[in-house]
């Protein structure tokens, strides 16, 4: 794998595809080059990374153990995980009311409260994104994407909070989280266990 050399644009395109899982639409020159290199798979209108492409990205994003910024990134990540839990809980509340029934969005008070609480989460993640970006310039784009999703949500289209099919707040956040996990080099399971522990500590 180490013998694969990618142009910068190609690398970014591959990272984006691995983090998103798939893309639709016209195949760009970069994507075609990635497909030719066996890093992505083009299936009709859908593009997906191959296992080789996924492993390549995991290796290229991962911060080495001795990287000077690693400690700071980890410290910020420890702060991120409880906020991550809060966001996931909020998205759950957006879809399912506390009594287990589906939120049909007919209760304006309930929905307005969730939107209001999203501001607390966005306020909490803002300084964390700033810190991440100082050490990992790749992360700078997430702030803008989250703000875009918020703006679309406030224009009245509720799908911009949690719909998995568009770059909703939840979708962008999950991409952010996935990129952090790859950067740190954790498995999802390790990440979830760490989050569980941190949430328990902060809530005890």
């Amino acid at each position: 794998m180490s013998d694969v050399v990618l142009a910068e644009g190609e690398h970014d395109a591959l990272v984006a595809l691995v983090i998103r899982g798939m893309a639709r639409g016209e195949v760009s020159a970069q994507q075609q080059a990635l497909a030719d290199a066996g890093l992505i798979l083009i299936k009709g209108p859908i593009m997906m990374p191959t296992p080789v492409g996924t492993a390549f990205v995991a290796e290229s994003l991962r911060l080495p153990e001795q990287a000077p910024e690693r400690e700071r990134v980890m410290a910020t990540f420890h702060r991120f995980l409880p906020v991550n839990r809060a966001l996931r809980d909020l998205c759950t509340a957006w879809q399912v009311r506390p009594d287990g029934s589906v939120n049909d969005h007919s209760d304006e008070n309930y929905d307005a409260d969730i939107r209001d609480r999203l501001d607390d989460i966005d306020d909490s993640v803002a300084p964390l994104l700033k810190r991440f970006s100082e050490d990992l310039p790749r992360m700078a784009g997430y702030r803008e994407k989250l703000t875009e999703a918020l703006a679309k949500l406030d224009e009245g289209d509720d799908t911009w909070l949690a719909s998995p099919l568009i770059d909703s707040y939840h979708t962008v956040w999950m991409h952010l989280h996935q990129e952090l996990i790859l950067t740190i080099g954790m498995t999802r399971k390790e990440d979830e266990e760490l989050e569980e522990r941190l949430v328990a500590e902060s809530g005890a």
Binding site: V18, I19, R20, G21, M22, K43, I46, M48, P49, T54, R79, R85, R88, D89, C91, T92, Q95, V96, R97, P98, D99, G100, S101, V102, S106, D107, E108, N109, Y110, D111, A112, D113, I114, R115, D116, D119, D123, A126, P127, R131, D154, A162, S163, P164, L165, H170, T171, M174, H175, Q178, R188, K189, E192, G203, A204
Partner: protein, 867 residues
């Protein structure tokens, strides 16, 4: 009450200790929701905590330290304790300031706790846990005051949080930050801090964020606030704590007080979802049980109370009525209220939304006792699914592309697995809870899901799934129930569950209130049995074409495509025998109820071979080419086909009458037969069919020696039939409106094309508010129906009129049917409970409808079982 319904100016009413507001004539306009909660709780004669409300008119003045001081003094008097003093159990007495509006409102400022702390006076007795919680709560309060009352930038406060993780070390930089960037230094006196906290709350309530929240709820921009100041005890003594209690179990809906409590003090306004069950409360749960039952009775609502407890006992500090309880809770509550004699049956029926019933009847696997549970986890997204196991996103996509129903089973999902999740009909993960990626995405896509099936192991090399003793392979079939969180080995039948006793009672009351009958559309014995179990009063539509698919298809093809009389006769005889068997099952399931059998109505292309190459022989192939239709839906269909192949309908009714003889002579049942002719537009079409059918009836009767009573009727699916309903009624003893076709033909819409390509645009442009195929179009299609109803009844006053399109299960359409005066609606078996309730709502009104016929309960009559 409405926040805008002020009847007059509200005067300065001073400070209002909890529980003294109602006697002073105050209501939600000045006390706001939290003040009223305390009044309601105090009305039960229970302790409600030591505190007071600063009512709406007095809030602006409260931002002065003098007023704040006066309020603090009064709270001390009420509590009989000094702020910052230590209790007998070593707790520290402090203050909580909270805000509420005259109506439930989002965007309220957060509760501010730990006000009234004397600098550096933290009692020695306070343990490390209480100190930690006190510090965290103090920081939240201080940062909120700094941001909103002093204007310190939030980014700077966020940096402090980072740079000084230790709270004690953070205090000094915080004071300096306030001095440098705030409009004034952080207040040092306790009364100044309370006043600044009030000021911060008002500033936050006037922020763009809170304004947006009010806009989203259509609340007035100038909605006022009341403030509430009360004591809290910062403690870590085992005898002190706080929690919440809900009156009902959210899964069963039944009255079963449950909740959580924690030791220590309540630092924020939000309910903590971690804690001990109420059964472990030091003084037991009896008192809470009594309180919750009393509150439910008074408020006619399921409730949640917040409580605090200490050595003195329990105090109730919050009350929430569940505005939108789930269907289980809503149904169980209204039935309990009737049982307790608090409300009437008609109130109960009105209170439950008809579509809510569907939630109670989410499809679930039909368990036989022989099912093999595979593994269980969290019920993360409701619904049930059956499919082949895929253990990677890629394989899920591949398997779905080859036409398989797929269940994606993974350790956990990431955004990268979206393609597989979209391809799957259901999802199961080993890790993660109900807020995990898999759960959130599954609910977003409406897929059933089980998460956190911790006993499951996936071996990617061996392509196996192991749970306990079970080993399955990728590609094996499993069934998952997202409502119970259990996965089963193999394919289970998915069907609606048995209604709960509460739902059964409620639907029974609805039956007593409705006028219209409710029947089911069912084509075979199994569906009919489900429909009868769900309370259907008969079959309103049995589509015989569904019996012609599969191995019967060649018979029908031979009838239609045959080139000689003998071949057609042989095929017809075989058809009559096959139908006899089908109808026997159906009639047994129907029992003594009416059953409307619609003779063959499918468009030709649904049962002819798609091309001449698939014909049985050259003659068939020639016929096929000859019979090709440009528009089969408007082609040789229904009665038209029967007139061209005159043996077809007689063969069907021969099967039907013979089946009736079979079940009646066996003593199994005595169904009321109704034979329905489809797609009639010329009254004589009906007459000709009537003559043919009577002849067969007489033949079967004389052969069997039994009189076989039957009614003949017609569908009204074409505008011409609607316009000539009086002529049809000369022969027809009943008419059933086929509103799918009638809607297509009235609009000139081809349903599939219009729904796929045009409807979205029409809805977004406001030309339509709903698909006319989902909600009956009252002004157009409804007008034709109304005309037909009048015409038909003018000729035959006792003619029975019904509807059998999909509209028969749609509440708004059912309401229109009530207005049109139809005798019954017929819908799919799964919608029967909805239709029973909706038909009652159409008669007596509901929480959601205001247009329905308003009559006194005593005047309610129903036309019986639709017969």
């Amino acid at each position: 009450m409405s926040p805008t319904s002020r009847t007059g100016p509200i005067d300065d009413v001073g400070l209002v200790p909890f529980g003294s507001g109602l006697q002073r004539g105050l209501d939600a306009r000045s006390l706001c929701t939290r003040g009223v909660e305390r009044e309601t709780l105090a009305g039960l004669g229970l302790p409600v905590g030591a505190g007071l409300t600063i009512p709406v008119p007095n809030v602006p003045g409260f931002t002065s330290p003098d007023r704040a001081k006066a309020a603090m003094n009064l709270v001390e008097d009420i509590a009989g304790r000094e702020i910052s003093s230590t209790t007998e159990t070593g707790g520290l007495v402090l203050l909580r300031l909270s805000a509420s509006a005259p109506v439930a409102a989002a965007g309220l400022p957060p509760d501010l706790t730990c006000l009234g702390l004397k600098r550096s006076v933290i009692p020695e007795g306070l343990g490390p846990k209480a100190r930690g919680e006190l510090g965290a709560a103090w920081w939240k309060t201080a940062a909120f005051i700094a941001e909103h009352a002093l204007g310190v930038p939030i980014e700077d406060l966020g940096s402090l949080d980072f740079d000084y993780p230790d709270l004690v070390e953070r205090v000094e930089p915080f004071r300096r930050l306030c001095e440098e960037k705030g409009s004034s230094p952080f207040p040092t006196k306790r009364s100044e801090q309370v006043a600044a906290a009030a000021q911060a709350m008002l500033a936050r309530w006037n922020s763009p964020r809170a304004a947006r929240a009010r806009r989203k709820q259509n609340l007035p921009a100038d909605l006022p606030l009341a403030l509430h100041l009360e004591t809290i005890v910062v403690t870590e003594h085992d005898a002190e704590g706080h929690g919440f209690a809900m009156s009902r179990d959210m899964d069963s809906g039944q009255f079963a007080p449950n909740g959580l409590f924690r030791h220590g003090f309540r630092a924020g306004g939000e309910r903590q979802q971690i804690g001990h069950p109420l059964s472990k409360l030091p003084n037991g749960v009896e008192m809470l049980t009594g309180v919750l039952a009393e509150l439910e009775g008074r408020l006619c609502s399921s409730v949640i109370v917040d409580f605090e407890f200490g050595p003195e006992g329990l105090a109730l500090v919050g009350l929430e009525q569940m505005r939108k309880p789930n269907a289980r809770v809503a149904t169980s509550l209204v039935v309990d209220l009737v049982t307790r004699g608090i409300s009437s049956e008609i109130d109960a029926v009105r209170a439950v939304e008809s579509t809510h019933v569907l939630e109670l009847l989410h499809p679930q696997p039909k368990l036989t006792g022989a099912d093999v549970p595979f593994v269980s986890g969290l019920a993360a997204s409701p619904g049930a699914a059956v499919g082949r196991i895929a253990i990677t996103s890629e394989s899920a996509v591949d398997m779905a592309e080859s036409g398989d129903s797929v269940l994606l089973v993974m350790s956990e999902t990431t955004p990268g697995d979206l393609p597989g999740m979209m391809a799957a009909t259901g999802i199961m993960t080993i890790n993660g809870g109900s807020a995990s990626h898999a759960a959130v995405v599954a609910r977003g896509m409406g897929r059933p899901a089980i998460c956190g099936a911790g006993d499951l192991r996936i071996d990617h090399e061996a392509q196996t799934l192991t749970a306990g003793a079970h080993v399955l392979h990728a590609g094996d079939v499993i069934s998952i129930d997202g409502a119970s969180g259990v996965a089963y080995v193999g394919e289970l039948i998915i069907e609606p569950p048995t209604p709960s006793p509460s739902l059964t009672a409620l639907l029974g009351w609805a039956d007593d209130l409705r006028r219209m009958g409710v029947r089911a559309n069912a084509d075979n014995g199994a569906d009919a049995a489900i429909a009868m179990d769900s309370g259907a009063e008969g079959i309103g539509l049995c589509r015989t074409e569904h019996q012609f698919m599969g191995d019967r298809l060649p018979l029908v093809r031979r009838v239609i495509l045959s080139h000689d009389f003998d071949a057609e006769a042989a095929a017809l005889a075989a058809l009559a025998d096959a139908q006899r068997e089908d109808f026997r099952d159906l009639l047994r399931a129907v029992g003594d109820r009416p059953v409307t059998v619609r003779l063959l109505d499918a468009p030709m292309h649904e049962f002819l071979p798609a091309s001449a190459e698939l014909a049985e022989d050259a003659n068939q192939a020639r016929m096929l080419e000859h019979m090709h239709e440009e528009n089969p839906m408007l082609g040789v269909r229904g009665v038209r086909l029967a007139l061209m192949h005159e043996g077809l309908y007689p063969a069907q009714v021969e099967g039907l009458f013979n089946a009736w003889v079979d079940v009646v002579s066996a003593g199994d049942a005595h169904p009321e037969l109704e034979v329905m002719i489809p797609l009639v537009s010329i009254p004589d079409e009906l007459l000709m069919m009537l003559r043919l059918i009577r002849r067969v009836n007489q033949e079967v009767s004389s052969r069997s020696g039994m009189v076989i009573p039957f009614k003949i009727g017609t569908m009204v699916e074409t505008p011409r039939a609607a316009l000539l309903a009086d002529q049809l009624a000369q022969w027809a003893e009943f008419i059933s409106f086929g509103t799918n076709d009638l809607t297509q033909l009235t609009y000139g819409f081809s349903r599939d094309d219009v729904e796929r390509r045009m409807l979205g645009t029409y809805l977004s442009k406001g030309l339509m508010t709903a698909s006319p195929f989902a909600e009956l179009d009252e002004s157009g299609v409804g007008a034709l129906m109304s005309y037909a109803v009048d015409k038909a009844r003018s000729v035959r006053p006792d003619i029975k009129l019904g509807i059998c399109g999909e509209h028969g299960g749609d509440p708004s359409s059912i309401e229109i049917c009530e207005r049109l005066g139809l005798d019954y609606v017929s819908c799919s078996p799964s919608r029967i409970p909805v239709a029973r309730l909706a038909a009652a709502h159409a008669r007596v009104g509901s929480v959601n409808s205001v247009n329905s016929v308003n009559i006194a309960p005593g005047a309610v009559e129903r036309s019986g079982s639709g017969s």
